[in-house]
Amino acid sequence: MALSNIFGIGLVGLGLALLFFFALPGRQREARAWRPIPAIRRLRRAIGLAVEDGKRLHISLGKANLLTPDNGSALTALSTLERIARMSVVSDRPPVVTSGDGALAVLSQDTLQAAYRTSHALDQYDPDRGRLSGPTALSYVAGSLPVIRDEQVSTNILIGNFGPEVALMTEASEKARAFTLAASDSLAAQAVLYAAAEETLIGEELFAAPAYLQAGAAHQASLRVQDVLRWVLVALLILGALLKMAGVDLL
């Protein structure tokens, strides 16, 4: 078996073991306070205001294909959606969800249904609130613009896999005087969002969003595992650099 495969199994095994360990009830009580992320604080406030004012939330989940490696951001977006749907279940206007992939659109309907069922409000569930707005990157953005503009949306949450074209959505949101929080796993989109979005999440902050919205013990535990694994990677990078300098090439 190749060394890279052994390293991969080791990283997955360590991650899984740490995840179980930090998710134990005793460890949860010892959890420290997280670093404040101002964008998430503003998002919570915007959700509260939208519910109070009877305005709609628009959650856009990006265009990630679930069969490709960038599906992590889409799955995190679905966790965020479930949490937001549960937070806004008392609103007069239920949230609307757009996505740029068929399977993701179907899962968004499933997630909305689960959120309403858990909140004992299944009668409010409408499958048409989870929509495929377009199957290509640009048609997805073009299909989402009328939702931002015409459906009395006061808060747009764009979280998932987007390209630079997401700037068209942030611009439309700004024109509609709505609050925008945007996060993407694409580096090009992150640079664009830093300039174009009202609030943005950079790097792995995207994956922390559900934990900061109190989505559950497993999400909080995974933040702590990320911290540990980051240090493991730093140590391995330094070790690799030292070995390379010494003329040892393991891979």
């Binding site: 991969g8 679905l78 048409d128």
Partner: protein, 208 residues
């Protein structure tokens, strides 16, 4: 636990697919390939379901439920476009050259126009950057964007031959690469943990 059967199936198949990547045993690789081909078919069916759902949304808009809004007339255009494309695709098959030519004749100019609008939007956003983020990070972002635009244009190529300044430029050129790798490592770790939560059954985006 909600949907225990779906959760057990997802965890079991997830572990088999993961092992197929790391342990190259022929039977594991075969099972992984079979599972992935099933997933491709399911994703295609899901796309079709989602497209018909989109059609239903536009039909509801035309029938006035929810109440009429500005721009609802475009729904008629969407439905007509969908009906023509769907029927033509069924009759000619999507591989037919004339069908592809007709689709691209509509899609290419529309998407090109959107990219042109995007270019203007990005230029406007960059002009407003310091108004939106009047802090040291915003200033640094703007300065580095301008600096690397100049660097990429080749205007500083004459300095590369100078002994100390050339080396310094080389170091500066590698800085974005280092930053990108840092961000990608964070995203990679986040993706890994998302997958592990699903393998644990803690995240269930499929259970309804």
């Amino acid at each position: 636990m909600r949907a225990p059967v779906a959760t057990a199936v997802a965890i079991g198949l997830g572990i088999v697919a993961l092992l197929g990547y790391f342990v190259p045993l022929p039977f594991l690789v075969d099972i992984q390939s079979l599972l992935l081909s099933w997933a491709v078919i399911l994703a295609a069916v899901a796309a079709l379901v989602a497209i018909f759902n989109l059609v239903r949304v536009h039909v509801r808009k035309l029938r006035g439920s929810p109440p009429k809004q500005r721009g609802d007339g475009y729904s008629l255009l969407v439905l007509a476009g969908f009906a023509v494309t769907f029927l033509a695709g069924l009759l000619l098959t999507p591989d037919h050259p004339q069908f592809q030519q007709a689709v691209l004749a509509v899609q290419t100019p529309v998407e090109t126009s959107l990219i042109a609008v995007l270019a203007v939007t990005l230029a406007y956003a960059s002009l407003r950057l310091l108004q939106r983020r009047p802090n040291w990070m915003g200033i640094l972002f703007a300065l580095s964007a301008v600096f690397f635009l100049i660097l990429a244009s080749g205007a500083l190529s004459g300095l590369r031959g100078l002994p100390l300044l050339g080396d310094l430029l080389g170091v500066v050129e590698r800085l974005p690469l280092a930053g990108a790798r840092g961000l990608l490592l964070g995203i990679g770790l986040g993706s890994l943990l998302t997958g592990l939560r699903i393998l644990m059954g803690a995240d269930r985006p499929y259970s309804g």
